[in-house]
Structures are given as structure tokens and as C-alpha cells.
């Protein structure tokens, strides 16, 4: 079936031989769950609404506040789905490219770099156009990725998972610090400040979604195309090259896809961490390490996680809401710790 | 000359969790002599040494120093009699040789006391004895492996203990430095009467330099005595699972172990000369 199957020393050989039927079942099941979650996301939120108000709001009747609230939840849900999928994909891509089970756009400083780039653009260059934000965010994400990778690969052993993660965490702390520093004196700081410090899908509008959708699509397609290459990368550079894979090119393209996804997601929802970390691990447990299945599954699961986190954030703190970024940090950090504690951190 | 201190283990059982490393072991370190402990990896020799240095608490049995159990005695008191050079000592980055050797004076210093003239004298003597006076103001990081090991030995010397335990002092050194260190330890023993007990992985060097040898396997002592008596083909096979020829070393006269693999054998086993014990 795949190259990976011929190697008996892989840790997940049993999972690899999963029949396609099982994987298909999981994928279909998760799509179903996603749909359910989307419905819940519209029905429940910071404001209690009745069924009548829901139907009215969905139908377009926005005379009442409740109906308007319901209407506003639709783009919010859609944004959560898109951003969640993007982050799930980006995480899977990063983990494959760096062979690091701890890779995540937030942990590796890529989201932080994107956010900082936009903040610098706003504060020092007076940027105000959301489309420009998008471009700047992707550039920031790329620069951050290169920087973190360079720092993490210095010295013995190259970019080992632990060194890379440390570099990412340190640099991401550095970025966050600078972001605070730059944002502070802004008069309109409050909401902006919170948005670029910790992400949320609260300000979702159809315009923003329309703007970011093509970019996300490009990133997603890039990752999907690299799926087979990612399978080879998992075997190690030498083996992959020996099997005819152009390691450098695959890495570059996959990394580019992940960076684009992460930059776009951050541009439109602020820095959200841990989704890219948790989702690939869960998905690997369910559908195995074949990236041709893993990548789509991560997209769906990532979307589901973010929608669920958003629902929790709105319901738990009524009538206020907690940003999605806080919820994912709260859920994701223990998972991060759990992964670090597991003995064989080096295996993917 | 120092009066000989006696260090021994009585019915010592050492374990990590539910893994027993050493069971009911009795051992007496010959005072005023150089003793080497040899054995295959994982036989418990390092664990034993650490227990002798009071770094590990025994599961049962006891380590006895000068007739009294080690356990329960004040740390500083023990530190004045018993010194240990651990397997991978850490030197703080950038520290100067004289400072590091000076740390050895700690057991002799009161809580917040400064360095006295006597302390400095001892440090200077230790530097002299190990031949590193010229490096006194240099950073430890700049020294070679053999020189660095001499600095650690100088620190142990500054501690002015009568018993010196060393855990694999030669493992990471090239042969020239290994010999350098072992010669130094021999000087210490001859000139000051320091009792030396060391874990060595190289049994040929152990056979050459030790007055007394303990061979261990699976946490037990399988042989004890002078190398000339202890080092035999049978013992090597028993302790190391190695087929070997033991002959007198032409350089020192002590036994030397020549391993037999599957290739490059000149003399078949049946024709090998009988070992002459010197």
C-alpha cells in the first residue's frame, strides 16, 4: 500500500494496516460531529435564545436582539470551522516537517510572529486594511518560522524536537512581550490589545471570511498535495532521500503551506495556540500515521475542536464570553505536558 | 603519614525501587592500599562505590567506617575522612582552577568562614601534588581531559581525606591521560598513604595499578585478592563472559588479559603456555 508498510520497525505498524473502511468511518463520523457542533454553536451562546428566535434569526428576521445574536453566530461558526481546520492542518504539517511531536503554530512562535508583524504594521506603519493584515501576517509567520528553526538548529544535533520547542517557546514569549509593548500606548487599545494577545472568533464578519477563504484554500491544498511526501519525511531524511523523495523541496512546500495557513488564521482570529498540537495527536490515534488520511482528518477535527471550544467559551461565562484562545490554552497545555511526559518523545 | 582508616561493607544490600543491585555483600577495603573494583557493565560496581561514599542508603546491612556505621553521622565529619570523585563531575562554567580546588576545603570550614592561610596552603600543596600549579589561574574549561581530571583529584586532595574513592576516573580519557592519572594516584598512595578504591573499566590497567582487586558479577563479589592471584582465564570467563589468555605483562610483570575472538588467533587454545604467576 504505502512505503511505510514495508518497515516493520515503525511504532504504528498495526495502525497503518487499518482498513480504509475504518478510516472512512472515522472521517464520516467526525464530519457528522462537526455538523452537530455547528448547529449547537448557533443554538447556544452567551445569550439564551428560544427555538423560535433561532428559526427567526436563521430565516433573516433580525428585528429582535436575540434574533440578531443568532444571525451573528453563523459567520462566527463558519470562521471557527475555517480557522480550526487551518490550525489543525498547520499543526499536522509542522509536526511532519520537523518530525517533532510538540510542534504547533503557537508553540513554535509562528502565530506569535504573525501577530507581532500585524501589530508592528498597525502601530508603526498605520496599516488599517484587513487584506494588508493578511499579507503582513503571512510574512510575519514565515519570518518567525525561519527564525525559530535557525535558532533551534544551532549546535549539536541540529533541530532536535526539544531544542526546537525551546527555541519556539522562548521566541514566542519574546514576540508576546514585544506585542504588549507596542500595543500599550494605543488609545483604542482595549479590544485590539486583547485580540492580538490571545485569539478569538468574536469579530467574525462575512467580509473577513471571504477575504481569508482563498488564502486558506491555497494553504490547505498545498498541505494536501504534500501528504505523501510527509509520509516519507517521517522515515528520516536519509531513508526518504534514498526512496527518491526530494526532501528539501517537500519540506519547503509543506512548511510553506503550514505557514500560509497559520498566518491567515492569525490574521483573522488572532494567535490561538495548542490546536495544532492536540489535533494531530488525537487524529493519529484514530486513523494512523498515513498523512493522506491524517491531513483531511486533522482539518475536520481541528474545525470541530475550535467550534466546541467557542461554544464552551460562550456558555460557561454567560453573559460574557471567554475567547477561544484561552479555552484552547487551558485544554491544550495539559495535553502538551502529557506528551512531554511520555517516555518516547522523539518518536512521531 | 596518615593512620589507616578502615572502610568496609557488612551484609550490604542495595536496591533501586524493586531492582536489587547488590545483595548481602561483605567487603573490606584494605587500608593504605590501592584497590580496584572491576566487572562487566551493570554488575553493580558503581552502585557499591556510591554506597561506600554514602550517596546511597542501603536497603539492609551497613557501611562501616573506623568501626562505626556511616549512617547517621554528620555529613561534614564523613567528608573529612572519605572523599569521592564521581563519574561525571560538573565544573561551573568558567570557574578558575584554584577556585575549584578550593571547594575541596569546604568540610574543614565553618558555616560562614573565610579562607584561612592554612586553607590556601593546602590548596597550593594539592596543586603541587597533582602538577597543575601552572594552571592555577586558568579556567577549567580550557584544560584537556587529563588535566581536568587532575584538577578534580586536586580538589579531592584539598579535602585532605585519608580514603579516596573514584568512580571510573579514567573512562573518558585517552590512554596517555589514563596512565597519567593512575600514576598520580599511585604517587598519592605511596607518599601519603591514602587508601584508594576505584572502579575501573579497563581490567588491564586495574591489574597493573591495583594492590588488591575485587571482581564483581551480578551484585556479588566473585573474587578478591592481589591481581596476580585473581586474574585468571577462568575468572575472566566467569565475570566477563570472555574467552581470554592471561599472561604476564612484559612492561610491568602484572597479569594482562588478551581476549580471544573468532578471528586473528595465532595460538590455538590447546597450545597456549601456562600462565606464570609472578
Amino acid at each position: 500500500m504505502t512505503i511505510t508498510q514495508t518497515r516493520t520497525s515503525l511504532p504504528d505498524t498495526a495502525a497503518l494496516r487499518r482498513p480504509a473502511a475504518v478510516r472512512l468511518a472515522w472521517l464520516a463520523g467526525s464530519l457528522l460531529v462537526l455538523c452537530v457542533l455547528c448547529v449547537l454553536s448557533v443554538a447556544f451562546g452567551a445569550r439564551e435564545v428560544t427555538l423560535g428566535e433561532i428559526t427567526a434569526g436563521l430565516g433573516g428576521d433580525v428585528r429582535g436582539v436575540s434574533e440578531a445574536a443568532v444571525q451573528a453566530r453563523i459567520p462566527r461558526t463558519v470562521l471557527a470551522v475555517l480557522v480550526g481546520a487551518a490550525l489543525g492542518l498547520a499543526g499536522a504539517g509542522m509536526q511532519a516537517v520537523t518530525r517533532n511531536p510538540l510542534a504547533d503554530p503557537g508553540i513554535l512562535g509562528v502565530s506569535g510572529g504573525a501577530a507581532l508583524a500585524v501589530v508592528i504594521g498597525i502601530v508603526f506603519f498605520g496599516l488599517a486594511d484587513p487584506t494588508v493584515y493578511l499579507v503582513v501576517a503571512v510574512i510575519g509567520a514565515a519570518v518567525a518560522a525561519v527564525f525559530v528553526y535557525s535558532v533551534g538548529s544551532l549546535g549539536r544535533g541540529g533541530a532536535t524536537p526539544l531544542k526546537l520547542t525551546l527555541a519556539g517557546a522562548a521566541i514566542s514569549a519574546a514576540f508576546a512581550s514585544l506585542t504588549s509593548a507596542f500595543l500599550l500606548p494605543r488609545v483604542d487599545a482595549m479590544e485590539t490589545f486583547r485580540f492580538w494577545q490571545i485569539g478569538g472568533v468574536g469579530g467574525a464578519t462575512w467580509d473577513r471570511i471571504a477575504m481569508v477563504l482563498p488564502v486558506l484554500a491555497v494553504g490547505a491544498v498545498t498541505c494536501l498535495l504534500c501528504a505523501r511526501g510527509m509520509n516519507s519525511l517521517a522515515l528520516g531524511d536519509e531513508v526518504a532521500a534514498g526512496l527518491g523523495e526530494n526532501v528539501f523541496r517537500t519540506r519547503l512546500i509543506a512548511a510553506a503551506g503550514a505557514v500560509i495557513l497559520c498566518g491567515a488564521a492569525t490574521a483573522v482570529a488572532g494567535p490561538i495556540a495548542f490546536v495544532g498540537l492536540v489535533i494531530p495527536h488525537i487524529c493519529r490515534l484514530l486513523v494512523g500515521t498515513d498523512h493522506r488520511w491524517l491531513i483531511p482528518f486533522c482539518a475536520v477535527a481541528g474545525a470541530g475542536l475550535l467550534v466546541a471550544a467557542d461554544i464552551i467559551g460562550r456558555v460557561v461565562a454567560r453573559p460574557e464570553e471567554i475567547e477561544v484562545g484561552i479555552i484552547t490554552a487551558f485544554i491544550g497545555a495539559p495535553v502538551f505536558i502529557w506528551i512531554v511526559r511520555r517516555q518516547k518523545v522523539r518518536e512521531l | 603519614m596518615t593512620e589507616p582508616h578502615s572502610l568496609s561493607a557488612e551484609s550490604l544490600t542495595l536496591a533501586y525501587g524493586d531492582r536489587t543491585i547488590v545483595e548481602q555483600l561483605d567487603l573490606r577495603v584494605p587500608p593504605g592500599r590501592i584497590t580496584a573494583i572491576v566487572g562487566a557493565n551493570g554488575c553493580g560496581k558503581s552502585t557499591l562505590l556510591r554506597a561506600l561514599a554514602r550517596l546511597i542508603s542501603p536497603r539492609s546491612g551497613q557501611v562501616v567506617l573506623d568501626g562505626k556505621a556511616l549512617h547517621g553521622r554528620p555529613t561534614k565529619e564523613i567528608a573529612r575522612t572519605l572523599g569521592l570523585l564521581p563519574q561525571a563531575p560538573i565544573a561551573p562554567e568558567g570557574i578558575v582552577v584554584a577556585d575549584l580546588v578550593g571547594r575541596g576545603r569546604h568540610p574543614h570550614q565553618k558555616m560562614l568562614a573565610r579562607f584561612t592561610a592554612h586553607d590556601y596552603e593546602v590548596v597550593a600543596q594539592s596543586l603541587d601534588a597533582t602538577g597543575i600549579t601552572e594552571f592555577a589561574d586558568r579556567s577549567v574549561d580550557e584544560l584537556s581531559g587529563g588535566q581536568r581530571q587532575r584538577v578534580w583529584i586536586a580538589m579531592a586532595l584539598a579535602q585532605q581525606t585519608d580514603i579516596l574513592l573514584l568512580d571510573e576516573p579514567t573512562t573518558f580519557l585517552d590512554l596517555a591521560h589514563q596512565v597519567e592519572v593512575l600514576d598520580l594516584l599511585t604517587d598519592l598512595n605511596r607518599d601519603r598513604g591514602t587508601t584508594i578504591a576505584m572502579v575501573l573499566h579497563d581490567m588491564n590497567l586495574a591489574a597493573r595499578y591495583a594492590d588488591h582487586l575485587f571482581a564483581m558479577r551480578d551484585g556479588r563479589i566473585v573474587a578478591s585478592g592481589p591481581p596476580s592471584e585473581v586474574m585468571t582465564s577462568e575468572l575472566i570467563r566467569d565475570v566477563f563472559d570472555l574467552d581470554a589468555l592471561v599472561v604476564p605483562d612484559p612492561v610491568s610483570g602484572t597479569p594482562i588479559v588478551l581476549p580471544r575472538g573468532r578471528h586473528h588467533i595465532l595460538i590455538p587454545e590447546s597450545e597456549e603456555p601456562r600462565v606464570i604467576h609472578s
Binding site: G155, L166, I171, P185 | T75, P89, I90, L112
Partner: protein
């Protein structure tokens, strides 16, 4: 003669250390004085001195006595506490990245403090003790989580970073629930700020420092021995478990009290140790110098934050802007020298 060389060398190094400490002390006094004098209204040294002595000077008594003096005092005390706490952790865990503000212990103190202030509406002393509890629980949790049949430094740091992320998000959450959350309060608890420092706030920190600082300094030699490795230290007569516990608990306590007083001033605990080690030399105990460096950092950063830019920045933002690049720089240096990460 060997003895001469050794003694001469030691004397040179000792004198160097003494000079460094003296210079640090003088700098602190100078900046302290400047902080008291400079501001919207300038007060000369004579007036400031009279206020310190307790005299009532019209105008100055309030500005200097009730605003600037407590602020400057808190800066010195907090900076000192952070510096000592940081260097203790970094030395004992043998890694400059293992600073308590990076591995989440500051976050633990912050969460508890913020909870105490906003949810329970406690007074300063109670909040300090709550912060202490939070810090100790966090430290214990990190230790237990990372201790798996052995002690891997990197694992501890990573787990600490994870814990910090989690607890920081909790702080953000609690702050967002506060009825009167404004940006200023937020900055105080997110990066540390000396705005609104009062004598009531200084008091718990001052008392705690009076007890804990001498305790830590007395263990200075033990700490120096621990740098040689647990085995070597034990063999040299140090009671390793007792020294470690004493130092850790004191460090955590100092950190907690300082955090309760003015928030987790970003990166001070992290920066003070490495800077102090560089200027004082490798053989010496870095405790006192790290404390002084920390105090100087906070004093100067606060001064700069108030007057050096168009807008007023809280001290945490300044130290954050300094500490962040320094963190990256240190990481690069460690990686490049093939160090033990």
C-alpha cells in the same frame, strides 16, 4: 611559590567581586535618589532627604513620601527578590532557562493573587500569602510532573512552559471577569507594574524579605557546592536534600511575595542571574549580585518607563522588551556552544 600564586589569585578575584558589589550598590542608591527627585515636579536632594527623615515638607511630603518613596522601595525590594529567586532556580536546576518566571511559578503566584484580589477581595497581606500558596503548589506540581525516575532538565522546562501557558490564560480569564477591568490593572498582572504602589503593599514584601533573604544568603556556600553536582556536593559535606529544599522554598516564597506586591515583572528573575554571573565572575556565589542586579533593573526600567518615552509604560513592558531579546540571545549562545539544553 605555589601558595603565593594561589593567595594572590584569590585576592584579586575577591577584590573584583567586592568592587562589583560596591558599584552595584552605589548605582542603586543613585537611581533611587533620582527616582525620588525627578517627576512632574522636581524636588532637590535636600527636600527629599528631609522627607525621608520624617519631616513634613509642603508638597514634597505627599509626592515624595506617599508616591515616589513607596514606589522606589517596592522597586528595590521586588527587584532584589526576583533576582535572588531567579538565580537560585537557575543555579539549582543548572540551566538559565529554568527561571521561575519562565517555568510557570510566577504564573502560579499571579493566578492566586489575582483570584484573591478580584474574586475574594482580600487585603494585601492575605493576597501575599495566597500567592505564596499558589506558587508553592505550582512548583510542586511542576516538579512532580517532570520527575520520572530521574530528572531531565529539559523536560522540566517544557512542562513549566506548558503550565505557564495554562495559568496565564487563567489570569487573563479572571481579569476579564473583573467588573472594573481596565488596561492598567491588566498590565499589572500580566507583566508587572509599580503603579499605585503603597506602603501597605510594600510591608508584606519587606517583612518577608527581612526573613527570607538572610536565610538564602546563608546557604550561599551550599549553593556554590551544588553547582558541582549533587554527588560532589554531598561528598564535600553538604546536606544536599536539606539545602535544596531550603533554597527552593525560600526562592519560591520570595518570588510569590514580590509577585503579590507588583505582579510578575517580566523576565527580571530570568535576566538577573546570567547578568550577575557575567559581571561578578564564575567562581563567586551569584546570590547577592543577582539580587542587586534585579533591584537595579527594576528601578531603572521603571524610571525609563515613566519618563523616557512619550507615553508611560509599566515597568514590566520595559523589562519584557529587554528580557525577550536577551532570552533569545542566551538561547542562541547556549545552542551554539553545544551546551546542555
Amino acid at each position: 611559590m605555589s601558595v603565593q600564586t594561589v593567595v594572590a589569585g584569590a585576592r584579586v578575584r575577591r577584590r573584583h567581586r567586592g568592587t562589583v558589589l560596591a558599584v552595584l550598590g552605589i548605582l542603586i542608591v543613585v537611581v533611587f535618589a533620582v527616582t525620588l527627585m525627578v517627576g512632574k515636579s522636581f524636588y532637590g536632594p535636600a527636600e527629599v532627604f528631609r522627607v525621608i527623615l520624617g519631616e513634613t515638607v509642603p508638597g514634597a511630603s505627599f509626592t515624595v513620601g506617599e508616591l515616589r518613596l513607596p514606589r522606589a522601595t517596592m522597586a528595590v525590594l521586588a527587584g532584589f527578590a526576583f533576582g535572588i529567586a531567579g538565580v537560585t532556580f537557575q543555579t539549582m536546576l543548572r540551566n538559565p532557562l529554568a527561571s521561575p518566571d519562565i517555568i510557570g511559578i510566577s504564573s502560579g503566584a499571579s493566578v492566586a493573587a489575582v483570584f484573591g484580589i478580584i474574586v475574594l477581595a482580600l487585603d494585601e497581606t492575605a493576597v501575599s500569602f495566597l500567592a505564596l500558596g499558589g506558587a508553592l503548589v505550582t512548583a510542586a506540581a511542576i516538579y512532580l510532573l517532570s520527575h520520572r525516575g530521574g530528572f531531565a532538565g529539559t523536560r522540566l522546562i517544557l512542562i513549566g512552559i506548558g503550565v505557564a501557558a495554562m495559568l496565564d490564560s487563567a489570569v487573563t480569564y479572571i481579569l476579564s471577569r473583573a467588573a472594573a477591568w481596565d488596561l492598567q490593572t491588566a498590565m499589572q498582572w500580566l507583566t508587572g507594574s509599580l503603579n499605585g504602589a503603597t506602603w501597605a503593599g510594600v510591608l508584606p514584601l519587606a517583612l518577608a524579605s527581612a526573613v527570607l533573604v538572610p536565610l538564602v544568603l546563608s546557604q550561599g556556600r551550599g549553593l556554590g557546592m551544588l553547582r558541582l553536582g549533587d554527588d560532589s556536593a554531598a561528598v564535600l559535606g553538604v546536606n544536599v536534600p536539606r539545602t535544596r529544599v531550603l533554597l527552593m522554598v525560600s526562592a519560591v516564597a520570595l518570588l510569590a511575595f514580590a509577585t503579590a506586591a507588583c505582579g510578575p515583572i517580566a523576565f527580571v528573575a530570568f535576566m538577573a542571574g546570567p547578568i550577575a554571573s557575567r559581571i561578578i565572575g564564575p567562581g563567586a556565589s551569584p546570590l547577592l549580585s543577582a539580587g542587586l542586579v534585579g533591584a537595579l533593573l527594576v528601578l531603572t526600567a521603571d524610571l525609563a518607563g515613566q519618563f523616557a518615552f512619550d507615553s508611560r509604560y509599566p515597568v514590566g513592558v520595559i523589562t519584557g522588551a529587554l528580557g525577550a531579546p536577551y532570552l533569545v540571545f542566551l538561547l542562541i549562545r547556549i545552542n551554539r556552544s553545544g551546551g546542555s539544553i
